[in-house]
């Protein structure tokens, strides 16, 4: 199983974000460095959810915001290591929609369940595979450092 490590601050921040946007989904990017063990997340960046038509069960980050996040990562000597979002009143498990819309191979997708406004489980999944046709998510060990 691959591993992703988060600082306590990042862990608290992404969970707080999910509580703040409840009952809508939150979303954002994770910046970090890759090591032999997996991603070491150093920072998170909040993003706006452009799916205002269905924000309770969908999220999308605008490409121009992604471009800015990518530039921020470069400026800080980091990479986009993955993304996070919340599942309001729904388990912290990837959904068919999450998989269909996932294209960042080798990156971590962290999901926090927010139950009645309170952050519950947080799980991480790595997008694995070599092509769109056979991509899949694998559970990751999430380590708080």
């Amino acid at each position: 199983m691959s591993k992703v490590s988060l600082t306590q601050d990042v862990y608290a921040e992404i969970r707080a974000h999910g509580e703040e946007t409840y009952p809508h989904e939150c979303c954002g990017a994770l910046l970090g460095l890759q090591s032999e063990d997996g991603w070491a997340i150093r920072a998170s960046i909040r993003a706006g959810n452009t799916r205002t038509d269905s924000a309770h069960n969908r999220y999308q980050i605008s490409p121009i915001e992604l471009l800015k996040i990518e530039r921020t990562a470069r400026a800080e000597g980091l990479s986009i290591a993955g993304f996070y979002h919340s599942h309001p009143d729904h388990p912290a498990q990837w959904s068919p929609t999450d998989l269909a819309e996932a294209h960042w191979f080798g990156c971590s997708y962290i999901i926090t369940a927010v139950e009645h406004g309170h952050a519950a489980a947080t799980n991480s999944f790595r997008l694995t595979g070599v092509s769109e046709e056979e991509k899949h998510f694998e559970p990751e060990q999430l380590v708080i450092v």
Partner: protein, 91 residues
């Protein structure tokens, strides 16, 4: 010009996060990139040769989809082209 490679595609560019190419249009730049790194092609293009729908391309700060000439847009050596796969999902 410089093409910035996103995290998921760096495995196909020998780990490089940026690649320099000499090109006069966006399409030519992408063709050069995928000639140098052939395994990238299937991630950027459909079998019919169109840019995959989830691949966003930014010429400097402009979304190539919305440029008048789109992929035929001319580029200068000082330009940058960013490849940004989309992010979306939900329960």
């Amino acid at each position: 010009m410089t093409i910035f490679i996103p995290t998921p595609l760096r495995g196909f560019t020998g780990g490089k996060d940026a690649v320099e190419v000499e090109a006069t249009t966006v399409r030519e730049a992408l063709d050069q990139l995928t000639t140098s790194f052939a395994d990238l092609r299937k991630h950027l293009f459909t079998p019919e040769g169109k840019i995959r729908s989830f691949v966003n391309l930014y010429l400097n700060d402009e979304d190539v989809r919305y440029l008048p000439a789109k992929e035929a847009s001319e580029v200068k050596p000082s330009d940058t082209l960013s490849i940004i796969p989309s992010i979306a999902g939900g329960r």
